[in-house]
Symmetry: C2
Subunit: 426 residues, 2 copies
């Protein structure tokens, strides 16, 4: 393999052979292909895309760069759910325990938040004592015994993806559909699952801002799942406003628990139920919607959440402590005029979380678990000037103040009512 020739080939819009993809990714992972040649190739991929065969081989090589788990000895269906990232998206925290309570095994390797998108891992990390890093043996044991384990990526799952993502992150090559697809699917397939429900976010707070791109990504994700024997459902859902009311760290854990207790915001609960039923349907359950309702109404989903927290060393008592992670500073958010909420710059909402301390500008940055915002209005809602429609909070007054201004600036108001976005697009 001559790396120059492969860069040139991709640059010209030609397709690589499986061997070429494999050798390129392996050489990069082993360090014999320098970062600058990989960066040039990644940018060429950004412009030229990848064929189905190339995408499959990318995923295969990334999986083969590390361990692939095997849960085939378990007596039930093994599935996971993944979201492409948004603001206020705490669905995994609800859906995981919910489907586990219905008998599905959930080995969920999750990520930290970066930029405007939050990460499930940061939210769990705010639970006192909760261990977000277990070794893969403990992970597999907990999945078997509790039915669910949510923890961070380990170095032995898809190390090729880890190295490639770090380079993409600094070369503006993250938002390439085949590379997004490869990164998501290699890690999920390596979990050893049989079924996967993907929530492809679409809108002002998502990587895919238009439905056409989201559909292309959804299709690519499904094709990859099929190639590797993972039954895959890919929903396209709205991210033109934050999901639920709470966005941040601890406030999202609380909202997730409220939803598990039957008291969550309508959009969050509705989406969670749909995606949960998708998993139960993949698992072969006859009446998945009814099973979801029962798991919630009976309290079994809520109990499974506590069980998971306890299994990972978390302090279950602390979950209901109203004093835990109380922010030092809270600023009210008020409607600036009479009228309707017409549009939300959800990316800006997400970036206001970074400002407040609840998100990361760069990998490795620390997180303030007390920080976040509550936004109680949705697109189409009517307000009067001065109505309290939410709040911004955190531990640093200056940051909270700046974040509150950014949040306020992300909301557009008008005199005509805008239609509420369709929560589930596909």
């Amino acid at each position: 393999m001559i790396p120059y020739n492969l860069i040139r080939k991709k640059q010209r819009g030609e397709s690589h052979s499986p061997e070429e993809i494999r050798e390129l990714i392996r050489a990069f992972t082993e360090g014999s292909l320098p970062d600058y040649q990989m960066a040039a190739w990644l940018m060429a991929v950004h412009f030229r895309g990848m064929s189905l065969e190339e995408r499959h081989e990318l995923v295969r090589t990334m999986i083969d760069s590390g361990r692939r788990l095997d849960f085939s000895h378990l007596d039930g269906y093994v599935a996971d759910k993944h979201s492409t990232g948004g603001v206020g998206d705490k669905v995994s925290l609800i859906l995981g325990p919910l489907v586990a309570a219905c008998g599905v095994y959930v080995p969920m390797l999750s990520g930290q938040g970066l930029g405007h998108t939050g990460g499930t891992l940061d939210k769990l990390d705010a639970i006192p004592g909760f261990r977000i890093h277990l070794d893969l043996e403990a992970f597999q044991r907990q999945v078997r015994e509790v039915g669910i384990c949510i923890m961070g990526q380990t170095d032995d799952i898809c190390p090729a993806d880890k190295k490639m993502y770090a380079l993409r992150d600094v070369t503006a090559t993250v938002d390439s559909i085949p590379l997004i697809c490869g990164s998501i699917m290699s890690k999920k397939i390596a979990e050893g699952i049989s079924g996967l429900v993907l929530d492809v976010k679409c809108g002002s707070g998502a990587f895919m801002t238009n439905v056409e791109d989201a559909r292309v990504l959804a299709q690519a994700l499904k094709e990859t799942g099929a190639e590797f024997g993972v039954e895959t459902v890919a929903r396209i859902t709205d991210m033109n406003q934050p999901l639920g009311h709470a966005s941040g760290v601890w406030c999202e854990v609380r909202e997730a628990m409220e939803a598990l207790e039957g008291d969550g915001p309508a959009d969050l609960v509705s989406l969670t139920k749909v995606l949960s039923a998708d998993i139960l349907r993949l698992a072969g359950m006859a009446e998945p919607e009814q099973a979801v309702e029962e798991a919630l109404a009976s309290g079994r989903a809520r109990e499974k959440f506590d069980e998971m927290v306890a299994a990972q060393g978390g302090d279950v008592q602390a979950l209901s402590d109203p004093e835990l992670h109380q922010p030092a500073v809270t600023l009210p958010l008020k409607a600036p005029q009479n009228g309707f909420l017409t549009t939300v710059d959800t990316y800006a909402c997400g970036m206001s979380l970074v400002t407040a301390g609840a998100g990361r500008q760069h990998q490795g940055d620390g997180i303030d678990p007390t920080a976040g915002f509550i936004l109680e209005v949705k697109i189409g809602d009517r307000v009067e000037a001065g109505d309290e429609i939410g709040r911004t909070f955190g531990s640093d007054e200056g940051k909270v103040k700046a974040a509150a201004e950014e949040l306020q600036g992300s909301l557009c108001w008008g005199e005509e009512q805008a239609p509420a976005p369709n929560l589930i697009i596909d």
Copy 2:
């Protein structure tokens, strides 16, 4: 400046401000911008191009990264000629002494050959004793005293371009019109010239294989010249077959001397005269074509060549030694059939020189001065099967044999006469 944002901007097809270009190039040259981010940016430029303003600032920053010579104290016009590269192109070796013999000062910083294109410097380097690396003071002195000096790039002329070219060379981002334009023009403008004649090669042996691209490049080169006060003529000339008969190292020096003595191949002589007259016209001469003829016929151009060689330490006696650089192995090239030469894969001809030892695969590779080929037929010429139409030669039998096969394979024959390509397109 946040490098990520600049990569993103170029990737999206937006233009940079002059400040952004300057900071990016400076940071890369100083080493604070890592190669992998520059590689991603270069690939984005390859796909998105650069605006006029961006191109100008690129050239300005590259010039400002090193020294800019000044010949304004001289009593005559200061000019140079540059070719975008081809096979058998020894025009500079003839044109330089010729226009110097007419009173034009020629400070020519030249390059080594790479890949299928030959370099003037390698040819001069084959002259026993000839020094291709002088310091800039000696360079300026010789220009003043002899009227011409041809030598290699120095580290103090456009170091930014040197570093960027090395990265482009390994990331498949050489063939970008704005980057080619920037690289050529920054170095030529830094020579301190007032006039420049550019030979934009077009065809199967050139970087620009179609006339449209060649015209875009020619236009960009002229715009840059105008911006920096250098009168610039950009010719587009044919590179669908090697120029002249000889391609290689020493054989090209000999053909150049024959041309200076009035005995060169018609295409080579014709092109050299046109480009030489262009320079004399820029210099304000009333009858440039006539001046060219006189400089050749009088022997003054040939004398100036010897004068330059002597000034740079070369052995003038050796120039006419028939034994110098005689190849150990020579294989005849024969016409395989009756008919006409219809097309030539000139890129393959150039690569056969690399095989023979007369060219470089990689920067730093050594060169066999005895190696090369003679091709005596031109597109449209009629041959009989078995006619000796040229030869391949060098010091290594295996290499010469392989090169001879490549050369034979680069020639296409047919029963209908193809029209001879138009040597001077624009």
